[in-house]
Symmetry: C2
Subunit: 283 residues, 2 copies
């Protein structure tokens, strides 16, 4: 800080609407071969990770996003053993996934090695996932990698940036078809971050249309994520048959009694309750 | 607009975190005897009403706030006949309340007549409530008015600004005691807008402590409201015995089949599902 005037990280993902985080100090900034990476110490949200001018996570809120992306699908599967995380190089999704003792192997396929290195250096709360002995980290293009993985995984989590730039392919029907064949058996599950159902309605509609063309059963579930534009975020869940609202899913969540701060059996059920203005986005 | 540079309405209700709405045109601005009132045409949220530098509503999102404040308590009561709305001079809560055919009398107690006049002029979608023949509009201090209303109302809705300035008294235990004696019988219900459970945790805690000291049964319920800071908003519900989650409440919602865009039986139930990080704020 060279003067007393506060500095702000301003995000305008949706034209005409901005979120601003006051920056106390910029801790790191670099242009990797793939994207622009920033780490700021903010005044109200702890540390902030930004990729290509989009908020990826803040220390204060990341638990909500990561718990909801990991636990909703992982509890839906009766016994997940092999997990693929696409993107998610920061390690937050790994940390939550690693709380599931049935998992024997967790592959992280993150295209940019610098994201993992930066997260490891600046976000201590994310490290446990990156250091779990079951985790194997690959720095490859996930769309390519997944083509080689026939019947390999029980659950696939797409922890991507927005559907522009490097992550655009991860929202397409072709990718979902490859992902489907990478699922081990008829209990296979895919979950993906799914944009804001309030501000990015057309992207949400397209994502669910693409997913619905490939998987027999799909759902949208929601969470309150203040660090993202509108604070109203969605995830997409697709299965070959399993139901995330089955009684045994709620029983598994209660029995595990993970020390989560957002996801729990009640919130798991409630996340699938859609207002009419969201229901109309689905096929 | 005098030049090509866009203008922004910036709100920093919580220090270090800002929401910004791009302004296309400022339609109205005045200092009333009580507060500063602004109406802006925004680029992405329709028209915006601001009172004392706090977003009250935008045309795009107001339906969520008003549906959730009005329908959750009004469907919890088996036959609401007399309703008091405290604050809410813009008319949005009235519009939703007026959809309940059992209501015979609706009193709006809004301290600032200019809020009602400005809303009537600039927000056509809010007018129906203000013009409903069952509505009586009083421009009085609600804390004073309610003292004279022994056993007068079935439901009281507190549609206030934040607990600073003119509305501070509406969050205090004294006010809730007066409100309780203004409820007609043991089926009485009070609901209030309740701040952000993410950004205003101490205010939420105090509100529920005060309410819990007066009413035998209290709940917090949540909604996604992008126009407010964090997008994660709460409401407080207090009853003398009724349960907002009783089966007959969900049946009444389904039978009424109101043309709502956010509230529905599923969302009504889900709104009460609290993550551990919110549950811990309650007494």
């Amino acid at each position: 800080m060279t003067d007393a005037r506060p500095d702000w990280y301003i995000e305008e993902e949706v034209s005409g609407f901005r979120l601003g985080f006051e920056i106390v100090e910029t801790l790191h900034e670099e242009q990797t071969g793939l994207q622009h990476v920033q780490v700021h110490q903010t005044r109200s949200f702890g540390r902030l990770l930004v990729l290509d001018d989009c908020v990826m996570l803040t220390e204060h809120d990341e638990f909500i996003y990561h718990e909801m992306l990991a636990h909703v699908p992982l509890f839906t599967h009766p016994e997940p053993r092999r997990l693929l995380v696409v993107g998610g190089g920061d390690g937050g999704t790994l940390r939550e996934a690693a709380r599931h003792p049935t998992l024997e192997q967790i592959v992280l396929c993150e295209i940019d090695p610098r994201v993992t290195a930066v997260a490891r250096e600046w976000f201590p709360a994310l490290r446990p996932g990156l250091e779990d002995p079951r985790v194997q980290i690959l720095h490859r293009d996930a769309a390519e990698y997944i083509r080689e993985q026939a019947r390999a995984f029980d659950v696939i989590l797409v922890d991507s940036t927005d559907p522009v730039g490097p992550a655009a392919a991860l929202f397409e029907q072709d990718f979902f078809e490859e992902a489907r064949q990478a699922l081990r058996d008829e209990r296979g599950i895919l979950a993906a971050q799914g944009e804001s159902p309030h501000l990015q309605r057309e992207q949400v509609r397209q994502l669910h249309a693409a997913l619905g063309a490939v998987f027999p059963r799909t759902w949208l579930y929601q969470a309150h994520i203040p660090m993202y534009p509108s604070g109203w975020w969605s995830f997409a869940l697709a299965t070959l048959g399993l139901d995330p609202q089955a009684t045994e899913v709620h029983e598994r969540i209660r029995a595990a009694a993970l020390p989560t701060r957002y996801h729990c059996a009640d919130v798991h059920r409630a996340a699938f309750a859609l207002p009419p203005c969201v229901r109309e986005l689905l096929p």
